[in-house]
Structure formats: structure tokens, C-alpha cells
Symmetry: D4
Subunit: 225 residues, 8 copies
Amino acid sequence: MDTSYLDLGFARVDVDREARQGVPEVVYGPGKTAGQIAGIVTALLHHNQGPVLVTRVGADVAEAVGREVPGGHYDAEARLLAWRPAPQRTFALGVVAAGTSDRPVAAEARAVATTIGLATTAWHDVGVAALDRVLAIKDELRRQDALIVVAGMEGALASVVGGLVACPVIAVPTSTGYGASLEGVTALLAMHASCAAGVTVVNIDSGFGAAMAAHRLDRSRRDRP
Amino acid sequence: MDTSYLDLGFARVDVDREARQGVPEVVYGPGKTAGQIAGIVTALLHHNQGPVLVTRVGADVAEAVGREVPGGHYDAEARLLAWRPAPQRTFALGVVAAGTSDRPVAAEARAVATTIGLATTAWHDVGVAALDRVLAIKDELRRQDALIVVAGMEGALASVVGGLVACPVIAVPTSTGYGASLEGVTALLAMHASCAAGVTVVNIDSGFGAAMAAHRLDRSRRDRP
Amino acid sequence: MDTSYLDLGFARVDVDREARQGVPEVVYGPGKTAGQIAGIVTALLHHNQGPVLVTRVGADVAEAVGREVPGGHYDAEARLLAWRPAPQRTFALGVVAAGTSDRPVAAEARAVATTIGLATTAWHDVGVAALDRVLAIKDELRRQDALIVVAGMEGALASVVGGLVACPVIAVPTSTGYGASLEGVTALLAMHASCAAGVTVVNIDSGFGAAMAAHRLDRSRRDRP
Amino acid sequence: MDTSYLDLGFARVDVDREARQGVPEVVYGPGKTAGQIAGIVTALLHHNQGPVLVTRVGADVAEAVGREVPGGHYDAEARLLAWRPAPQRTFALGVVAAGTSDRPVAAEARAVATTIGLATTAWHDVGVAALDRVLAIKDELRRQDALIVVAGMEGALASVVGGLVACPVIAVPTSTGYGASLEGVTALLAMHASCAAGVTVVNIDSGFGAAMAAHRLDRSRRDRP
Amino acid sequence: MDTSYLDLGFARVDVDREARQGVPEVVYGPGKTAGQIAGIVTALLHHNQGPVLVTRVGADVAEAVGREVPGGHYDAEARLLAWRPAPQRTFALGVVAAGTSDRPVAAEARAVATTIGLATTAWHDVGVAALDRVLAIKDELRRQDALIVVAGMEGALASVVGGLVACPVIAVPTSTGYGASLEGVTALLAMHASCAAGVTVVNIDSGFGAAMAAHRLDRSRRDRP
Amino acid sequence: MDTSYLDLGFARVDVDREARQGVPEVVYGPGKTAGQIAGIVTALLHHNQGPVLVTRVGADVAEAVGREVPGGHYDAEARLLAWRPAPQRTFALGVVAAGTSDRPVAAEARAVATTIGLATTAWHDVGVAALDRVLAIKDELRRQDALIVVAGMEGALASVVGGLVACPVIAVPTSTGYGASLEGVTALLAMHASCAAGVTVVNIDSGFGAAMAAHRLDRSRRDRP
Amino acid sequence: MDTSYLDLGFARVDVDREARQGVPEVVYGPGKTAGQIAGIVTALLHHNQGPVLVTRVGADVAEAVGREVPGGHYDAEARLLAWRPAPQRTFALGVVAAGTSDRPVAAEARAVATTIGLATTAWHDVGVAALDRVLAIKDELRRQDALIVVAGMEGALASVVGGLVACPVIAVPTSTGYGASLEGVTALLAMHASCAAGVTVVNIDSGFGAAMAAHRLDRSRRDRP
Amino acid sequence: MDTSYLDLGFARVDVDREARQGVPEVVYGPGKTAGQIAGIVTALLHHNQGPVLVTRVGADVAEAVGREVPGGHYDAEARLLAWRPAPQRTFALGVVAAGTSDRPVAAEARAVATTIGLATTAWHDVGVAALDRVLAIKDELRRQDALIVVAGMEGALASVVGGLVACPVIAVPTSTGYGASLEGVTALLAMHASCAAGVTVVNIDSGFGAAMAAHRLDRSRRDRP
């Protein structure tokens, strides 16, 4: 069998994922107690060599887990708890966020990507209502290996950036906005309907998903000489 | 009573609308026979002084109506049938369309506006996936009294144009696109969630509604010295 | 470059917007700390001449910001914090609200419009279930340069007012109501489907968006002799 | 047992419905062959005394059924095929339709109501964009025992009429309109969210349902001395 | 003018509604302060003869209003505050509720109806999953002048009752249930799609709307000799 | 490996499914040419012992396939093409349909079930608007091993039958109806929200899915002594 | 009459359900007071012989009810309160859950099933992102008489398990996940669209409904020799 | 200016896109005449060096265009018309499709990718209802640089493949299926809610979008040494 898992009773830890996909299984925090998280993290640290991450975890739980499993680092804006960050590789990942309200999602994308070894640069408050803010960083954007575009409301930034650069663009709709924003559904649909060819989309508010998509890009490049 | 109407049996014609709003009632073509349209048009021509318009009418019906009520002009792309166009006024209305598929809606907006006396200029195929197409006409856009922005898919052009100009921007979502475009609903929602302040929106594919909104702008300006 | 911005680290302030659109960038309050708001407001006051506004801000945050940046005025019903209001111009803007529950949205529209220099008049509790309340103010409505119509539930007031007046009508659906109101989505759709030609619509509960649309109308008029 | 039915093999005819509800079962035409319809109608004529109706039936099928079951009358606009109309009673039912496109639905309501014995009056093209068309018939509307209001688009006519009269108002949303009308769903939701208290609603395009609701009203009145 | 209103500054009271529709304007509680409610109630009591009602009001607010306007009665389950109940008339209104969770909505329907003078009878917990509970009261249901059917989840009770009785059936979908119930939207749609002809529907959770529809029925009967 | 498939180039036939689930893979007709269907059917007949079925196939295609693969039987109402029907087993499956428009879906359920060896009985036109039609067959329904309930519109029949019997009830929503029926989505949601415990649901119009669910029931019973 | 109920004033207890369906009526906790629950439970215990269950009840209410009606057992994870559990029968029911967040729903399914006498086995954290976790238990799954599959997010586990086993598969979508998960609606729709034939679905988060569906399976098997 | 375009009157051709993104602008066929397509293609061939593609074009239009612009190749299954295909590069792109109905979308993805120079391999009919079909190609899938997964219905294949491989996975939901599939919307939502981390999604039926996303991956790899 080329995959195996560890049964902790309350969870089946996929300890083979690191071998299969290059990064150990990432723990989704909501709905788990500090004790359960600590147990899973301990198992992952023991059976893998790479970074271990817990996403969407509040400060209180993070502190409780940290007491049981020392050596972790907590990023409050990203709500990410992590141990054993990977050494930085040469993959240049840009994170572009449309508004100040999109910062937490962008922060999660950046923190996850950095922890698993990607070199990230972030630009905030780059909305299309003032195009100069986009155009001013056009050359920098073009120097990235891939871009994560984080935007709520109508999500137009994904189309604009997608048209400016040649590299992979991963769009993250956010639940920013009110009324017709429909808690991110409008941005998700709009990004799919984008007139910029080849833009791909992940789930609403999923900075984590975007970072993992970037990881796949990097992994694919390294696997080929 | 400051309003009155004419009862044709199959329709109540609002012959007072010209006095009330500056343009005679406009006839919505679908679901009416050529005979009914001809009857309403005849009444409107008789009881009003200004232009008489029938929207969304196919070539066959237009020809049949034209035989009964001479003097009309039919615009096939706009699907507009019109009599007695108003003399052109000084209101400069720009019509900007995102893609070639948005042309029929833009054509309706332009034809209606021209018929009721606005001076229109149109730009087609100005999608945000190639920003230079927008930036190249930025100065021309800024010289307009108002802009109608026609876009389907994700509708991002409304946000981008809305951020570039100071004048009123009337956004028309179109049913262009497929899948996540949801026949124009995505563009409608996205235009409402737009990060560009003060952009207003009309119904999906309603070039007519946008032109009438522009008419209200012009009317308001003329009413005040 | 004809546009520029100021990078405060946590935000990129579009200090050129006043030159471009006639009003400095307006700060959207939710998700920002009092310190961040104060920083942005200070920058805007320094780099622009006109009014500086913060929308959707609660009393507590408003007070904290006020301690750091003196001279502001807080409107509790509108939840608007503002400095350096513009001198009143001759543009007559009417704000008509359907029910008492629609007051906060109407208040935001009026407060924003007044702060940027429009002369506003407001009518409240003008629902179509008692048409006399509408008909009684018909002549006053017709004396306005533009009207903002604020209504939740089925939003029928927009159609009724749109049919009575010739000036621009900006409809604001509100999240008033329950059940089939779908938190404003029903009113938004209904206003778009309105049988009154040329009515335009802004986002749900966006008194701010309606006021900015009115600003564009005023700006367009002033730009032309 | 106080109810019984007749099994024709392809259908179970509820021959007891006349005793239970005052009108024989009404046949829904779509999906049935002319032969099946003729069979059901023959059974209903035989086992009941009152009117027998087939709704939503095209001219071709109506003619074929008519050849097998003589004595019927076909109303092409209402698409109703009927035998043995009931004598007219004193219940005064008004049918008010907003636009010319709503005529077929209003015609179905009126034809069904007339066939089952109600005295109907109809007004067409009474949209709220020209309030005078509504106000002009206010007194006539107030003389009805009940009103059916047929409207598509935003359905505002139901609210306006509901506020003018004291009698029961049955609103019928229609699939008239395009874009944000969502094939009648917007009108249905808007009529439910109506600010006029006590308006009730039936299914989209269901002139039949509205007429049957009126029948229940009439039946309830007659049952009580 | 045959209608008039009273302007309290924060509200326009439709004091003519009693003359127009037989019951004074009913006050919708949410979003109003105790002081505002007291003001409106005082005006209504002064300018009308009939019952004055405030709906959806909590115990705290009810008590505060009661201190300012004595003589009212508060029904906690119905959340209704009322003054000057009308003498009972001979109209027999049945209220049938599907589950125990539907009680508050049924209570509102009954309390409003009773206050405006209808004679009501209520049956609770009459779900179709145990048909005997419905069949057991069939004869009683058939003795009513009209029925209000309150049901959440799939709303099937409206179809079943609609098929059993000949009188008007007013269906009230409730937000009872979870998941696929979609907070009442499923029941609302299902009640409209009902196979029982002539059932009408009001807004989700609107016991008030159903009672007012019953009032219109009663009013219509009394107006005709 | 305990599963295997056959690669025909244009399709991978799951020839092991009979061993795994007791019935060979069933061919979904739409989108396949007569030639492709004939190829798959030939392979299935060759590699399996049991019945081979093609669903949702029109008469023309069925005839063309039949010329290439003799021995099949075509059921026009069910649109099912089948070879080598299984011998009938003792599992008694009832199929109950609400209206005559639901017949084709019920026919598919019955034809598929019969072909794979279940003993089926069908009742048509058993709507809840005439409860006696349901109550009259109550005892027969209770004698079945499982029931398939086919209903469109509001789907109330599933709740009513679910409350009457103890055996498994498989509900099939159909796209019958118009307007608020939303092409079957309303019935699907309503069936899920059903107040009758333990009713399960399959996809809209999927008579096939319901029959296969019944096959799983029968299979489970036979597997255990 | 073959069914009867007990009227407690605030509820009509269906005391005949045990005779009709093999298990007494199950009490749905939300919206009922501890006193009401105790009253219903007492009546059910008195008029039936089998297990009495209250679902979705919190610890506080459970304790209060327990003080009034001794002998019950409370399962905190399942939020189930139960008296007089049935002796275990030979029906082997497997419960498979996709993620740790789906545990509460799986726990409800298992606790209800165990209480009514089914022999249950549960597997947790069996997501399809690590197929080995599914494949490792394939043989165990195939030994069950029926399977309940609990999954949120995209619900793919239902398709995968449905393809592996021949027995009945009851899928329970859960509200696990965020964004595009739409609180379980996506999983519900996806499970219906499943490519695995014969999978049936119950309401979102309804572990109870799935267990009752399994009860129907068991009941059907026992009824036949 | 680093971008420029060519104005053909009916279209603005983005002739700079090849320099900016590595592939000339791709022409979207629907809504354009053969003459317009020929004009745009001629301009693109003249101003660029790389491949020129027209998507979603029927056989008739393709033939007409081919007569005007020789040298093109038409792929009927993919509905793609192309000139001057790029030489094949070393990027290995796998295309995996769930069902035979998904073939046209997979064909578009493959044809576009091949034309722009990627080395593609395709697997069809790899549904998760027979996992062996997926597992049998696991090793081949792991040898690809990126994978496009095409699936309708519930779209579960994206989760399963996403969990098996480490490379980028681009999921394409298709409009295959009926009922709860909601014309691809269910698959789109389900793919976003996928439990496999780092899967990205493009628009419904957009084989073109997926191929362009793969192009971005390849481009990014080549740009970096």
C-alpha cells in the first residue's frame, strides 16, 4: 500500500500525505478542541519531517495548544499556528489584495505559503477604482512566478491582474462587502465569468486553498528538471 | 387631473407622459401584434409632438407596422422602430461596451438615446483584460456628460470606468457569457457590489433603460437654468 | 501620471481622487481600527481640500477617532463621521423613504449628500399602501434636481415615484422586512424589473452609493456651462 | 366514505369534488392526449352537474377534444375549454392587469371565473408608472366583492391596489419581463413582501388559481345566511 | 381628498385607513422605540374609533409603551400589544397549525384576528405525518368561514386542508425546520405549487398578514347585503 | 484487483459491477450515438449474465440500436431499452404517483425495477388534494416491501405516504408543474423538509435512481439469511 | 379508526405511531420547554412499549427533563435524550463520516439507531482526499446491511462509497465547511447528482432522519419471513 | 505604451497579447459572423507569430471562415478552429474526464492545449462510482506536470484526483446531468468545497479556460531558469 494513516480514535491522520504531496496534512482548526489539535499535531510532527500547520485557530486555542506542543509560532492576523517552517525556496509568490477588509484572507494565504517555503511578497489596498494603484505595481507583479489575487465585492481585480500578467493567477473571492455581495458568492461567480483567460478560482475566503494551489505549482516545477 | 390616457380597448395609452416626463410613452414590442403596435403608435403620434419608439421588435413585425404607419425608421441591430426623432441636443452621452457580444444592447442604448435627442458616441470591445483599450480612451470618456457602460460576464468594466471618470455612470449588465454568468445575474450583482462609488445599475440587457436614465439626466439639466 | 496614492503601510490612500472625481476618497469604516481610521483621515485632510467622510462607523469608534483628529462631526442615525463639510451648492436633492425602518439608510444618503455640498430635503414614511402620502408631495418631488428613493419590502415606491417625475431617480433597496424580502434582494430585483423607465438602482442599504451617484449628477452639471 | 373517485386506468377522476368544494375537478391540460382529456371530461359531465373545465389547452387539442365531446366552448386567449357554464351569481369579481403582456393570464382568470358563475369585470394596462390609470378606476375597484391583480415585472400594482380597497385582493405574479424579473419569481417574492396588509398571492401565471380562490370566497359567503 | 395622514415628524400616520379599509393602520414594532410607538398609538387612538395594534413587540418594549399609553393588552406568545379590541362578529375563522414550533405564528394570526373582531378557533400540532389528526377535525374545519393554515418544513398541510374544505384557505409558511427548509422559503414555494386549487399564500411567518386577509374576507361579506 | 473494466476507446465499461452490486452497469442514453450504445450493450451482454438496460432513449435511437443488438425490448413511456430481464423475485415494490403528469417518471421506475427482477405494483393519480384516493389504497401500500413515491409540484404525497406506512419510502421529485415549482427543485427541497421521519429522496425525475435504491434494499435482504 | 392521538393541550401526541411504524413518535426538542418535553415523554412512555427519544436537546434542558422523568440517558455529542432503549437486533448498520466536523451528525445517527435496536459500527474521518482511508475499510463496509454516509463540503464520499457496496446507502449532507458549501446545500445537491446509482439522501444534518430510514429498512426485512 | 490594439471597426484586436502573455488573443466564436471571424483571424495572423484559435464554432461557420482564411484546421468534437499550431513543448498535461457526456469539454481543453504547444494525454470515462478506473491510472496521473479534471453531476472526481497527485489540478465543472445538477452549478460549488487542498476551478464547461490556465503554468516554468 502506498498510503497509510494513523488512527487516533477521534481522527485518522493521513501521515503519508507528505510523501504523496510534499507537505504534511494541514489541520483545520474549527470544531476541534485544543487537546485534539495537540494530539494530531504531535502525531504529524512525529511521523513527518516537514512543516505542520493548523488553520483558522483563535488566540485562546492557539495558546492552549502551544502549552502542550512547544515550538510553534502563531500568526494572529492569519489565525495560523505552525511548527517547523520549511526553508525558503526560490518560488516567488505575489499576494495582491483589493481592499483593507481583505487583509485577513491575504494574510492567511501569505502565512501558509511562507511556512511551506515559498517566497512571498504582498500588496494591499490595490482596488480597481483607482487603477494607478494597480498599474504602479505592474512590473513587480510580472516578476512573480504566480499571483494570488484576493478580492471581495465584485472581484474585478482578478480580471484586471489576469490581463496584465502571463503567470498563473489564483483568485480568492472574499466575503467582504454587503447586500449584493451575497457574502462572497457574487465575487466567486464573477471571477469565474472573468474575461481574462486562464484565471482559476478557489473557495470563498480560502487563503489556505490558494497557498496550497501555489504549492502544487512549485512542486510541479521542482519535480521536473 | 394632470395626467390622462387613451383607452384603445387592448391598451391604455399614457398620452400625458410627454408632458410629465419629456418623452412620449415608449412601446415595448414583445407580445404585441403588428396591428396593436400600429394602433398605439398612431395614437401616440397623434396626441404627442415628440419621438415615438417601439423597442425589441423583429424585422418582420417592423416591416408590417411600417406598412400601416409610414415614416418610421428601423434599426436592425438595435431592434428599434422609431418615428419623428428629436433634434439633437448638447448632452454628450458615451456608450462603452466590453465585448463584441454586448453590441446589440449597446446598440439599443445608443439608438434610443439618439432618437430622443442625445448626442452619442460609442466605443466597442473595451474589455478590462486589455487595460490599454480602456486607458487609450480615458480622455474621451472624461469629456462626456454621462456614460453608459455595457458589460456581461463579470461586469468589471463598470468598476474600472467608474473609477476613471467623475460623471454619472449607468451600468447595463448583459446576458453575455455562459456557466457562472447565470444569464446576466452575476454581472448585475457584481455591478452593485462595485468598489467604484456612485455607479448605478439598470436591468439586464436593458439598453433602453439606460438611455432613459440618461434622458432623465439631460432633462434635469435643462429644467434648471 | 495623472493619479497618485499614499502608502500608509496598512492602506493605500487615493489622494488624487479629489482631483479626479471632485470629492476625496471616502473611508469605509467596518473592519478598521480607530487608529487606522485616524491615520487615513489625517492623510486625507492633509492632501485634499474638500470634505473627509467615514461611513458605517459606530459611536464608540467615532469618539475614539474624534479624540485623535479634532474638528469632526458625528451623525449617529447616519453613522457618518465627517470633517470640513463642503459649502452648499444649488443642486436640490430629494430623499424619499418608504417606511420608518428605512430611516437609517435615508439618513446616510442625506448626511453624505449634505456633507459634500448638495441641498437635501427628506420625506419619510411615504409608503404606497397609502397613495395619498405620495400624491401629497408630488409637486415638491417635481421641484427636485434628482431623487433618491429608499424602500425595502417590495420596493414599489421606486416605480410609483419614477412614474411621477421627470428627473433622475436613484433607487436604494433596503434590507427592511422579513421572509420573502430576502434581506433586500427582493427589493433590489423588483426595482430593476420596475415598469418605470429610466430608474437606476444602487446596492442594498447603500445610502452612501446613492449620494455619490447624486454627486456625479451635480458634478456633470457643473462641468458644463 | 364521504369522497369517491372513478378509475379510468390512466387517471383517477375525483367525482366527489363537486359535492366537497362546489365545482367539479378541473382538468389540467398539459401532458394529456386529446383522447385522455375527452375521457376525463365525459366522466366528469356524467357524474357531476356543474361546469367542466380544461385549462392550458392549445387550439389543436381543443378542436380534437371538441369533436369527441360536443357542446364545449373554447376561449383562445385564455386557452380554456369548457362545458356547461354555471349560471351567473351576484359575486362581483374584478380582474386588474398591469400590462398588455399580462393579458393571457388575466384572460384565464376571467374565463375560469365566468364559467363557474362569478360576474367579472376586467381592466387592462393599469400600470403604476402612470398612477392616473389606477386612480381613474378607484371607485369601480371599490365596488367589487374581490379583486384579482395580475402583474409581472416588479408586481407593484398589488401593493397599490391593496392599499386602495378593503375587499380581498388575490395577486397573480406573471412571468412577464426579462432579466431581473427571473420569470416571475421576483414578482412573486415582491407581492409577498408587499407593504399592503392582507394581500394574498397565488402561483406565477396562475389565473386559474386566482379564480378558484375567488370561488372559495363566493362559496363561503353563500354557505352562510 | 378621500385619504389623509398625520405627520408626527418621525412617522406619517395613515389616520384615514380605518375609513378606507375598516381597521386603523397597524403598527409594525421592530425598529421603533417605545416612545415612537407610544406616539403613533396615541395618534391612532385619537383619530380612529377601532382597535389599535402593535405587532412583533417584545415584553420590555410592550411594558414601556403600556406605561405611556394605558389600557392596552399584551399577548406574550403572539407578541401583540393592542388597545380597544373590536366587538366579536359572526365570522368564524379557524387557525390550523402543523407543529408545536408553528405556535407563535398561529398565535399572532389568532390574536390579531380576535382583536379586530373575528371569532377564532385554533387547532395545533395537526401534522400530515399522522393523517388522523387532520381527519379527526375535518368536520369542524368545514364549519369555518375561512381557514388559516400555518406550516413550516414542507408545508404539506396546506394542500391537504385545501382539498378537504370548500372555504377560503390562507396558507402561512413558517421558518420552522432546518437545512432544506431554507428558513421558510421551501414551504412558501411548496404552498404555491400546491395541487389544491384556490389556496392562497402570505409571507413567511406572517400570522398578521393572514389575519388581515381574513379581515378582508369578512369586510367583503358585510359590505354586501 | 476485485474490480475491472473494459476499454472500448469511447467508453470504459465497468464489467465488474454485476459482481460488485448485483446488476450490470446501466447505460445512460443521452449524448451517445446508436453505435456507441450498441457497442457498450454488446460488451455488457458478453461479460455479464444479468439484465442490460439503456435509460432515457428515444424511439428512433432504440430502433437503431435494436437492429444492431437483437433481443431487446423497448418501453416507450419509460424510454427504457432492455435485454435479458431478470427472473422475478419476491420483493414487492409499490410505485405511487401523484398526478398524470408524473407518469413517465413512474413508468421509468417501474420498468427498471421490473427488468432487474422486482415485483412491482403501480398506482397513478393519487394526489393529496383528494385524500380518499390515498386512503383507499392504504392497506395495499402497507403490504409492500418498499414504496417509491413520485410527485411534482409541492411533493406533499411523500409526507402523507411516509406517515401511513412503516416500510422504506423512496421519494422522487418531478419537474411537473410551473412557476414556483422551479422545475422540480421545490419538490426536492420539500421532500427533504418532510415531517414524515425516515423518508429518503433521489434526484429530480430519477425513476431510475429510485429503482436502483429499491434494488439495494432487495439485495441487502437477500444477502442475509 | 386505526390511528389515535392524545391531546395534551400544547401538543397532540401520536400514540398510535408505534403500532403503525414500529417506533413511538420521536420528540423534536427545539422550541419546547423542559416541562412540555417531560409531559410528552411521560405520555409516550405510558401509552407505548418501545424506546422514547428526544432529539437536538442541550445539556441544560436534558438535565431538567431528567429530573421530572427519571430513567433517561443523555448522549451529549449526539444531543439525544432517551428512555427504554430497544433490545439490539441483528441489523448491521454502518455509519461512515467524512471529517471530524461531521462527528455530531454521525453521533446522532448512531445514537438514534442504537436506541431503536440496530447494531451500529462507526468509522470517522474517512475523507476521499486520502482514498486509502476508504479502501482500508472496504471489506468491513461490504459486510453491513446498510450504510449511512455523513459528509459536508462537496459530499463526494457518498458517491465513492455508493460505488463500492451493494447495500442501501443513505447519504446525510452536513453544514460543515464554508463559502461555496452554502451551509450544506452544496453537499445536498451534489449527493443527488451523484454518479453512483441508487444512493438516497436525507435532509442536511439529519442524522435522525438517516437512522429512521435505516429503521424502515430493518422493519421491512423483519415483516417478511 | 507597452500594449496596443488594432481597431477593425466591429472589434478591437489586442495584437499585443502575444507579447504580454505568450499566446495571441483567442477569438470567442458565438455571436460573430463568419466574415467578422475571418477579419479578426487575418489580423491576428498578420500581427502575431503564434497560433490563432477560434473557440465554440460550429461546422458551418468553420467551413465559411476556412474558405476566406486558408490553412486552418477544424476539430469538430472540440468545436475549435485553429491556424499555425505551436511546436510541442515538454509540458505534460493530463486531461481526465468523468463520463462520456463530458467528452466535448475535455476535447476542447485538449485541442486548445495541444494547439498552443502542450503535450497532452487524455483519459475518458473515469468516474468515481468505479474507483478502479481511477486507481488503474494513478501512476500515469502522477507523471503529469498538471492535470485538468472534467466532471459534471457532483464533480467528485476532482476531490479524488486532487488527493492522489501532487501537481496542479484544474477542475472544470460541466453542465452534464439533470435535476439537482442545476446545469453545472452544483459541480462548480462542490469543486470549490472540495476536501482536497489546492484544487482550483474554472468556469462551467470551460475547457478553454482550463487549457489557458495550463498555459500559464507552462509559461511560468519556462520564464524561470
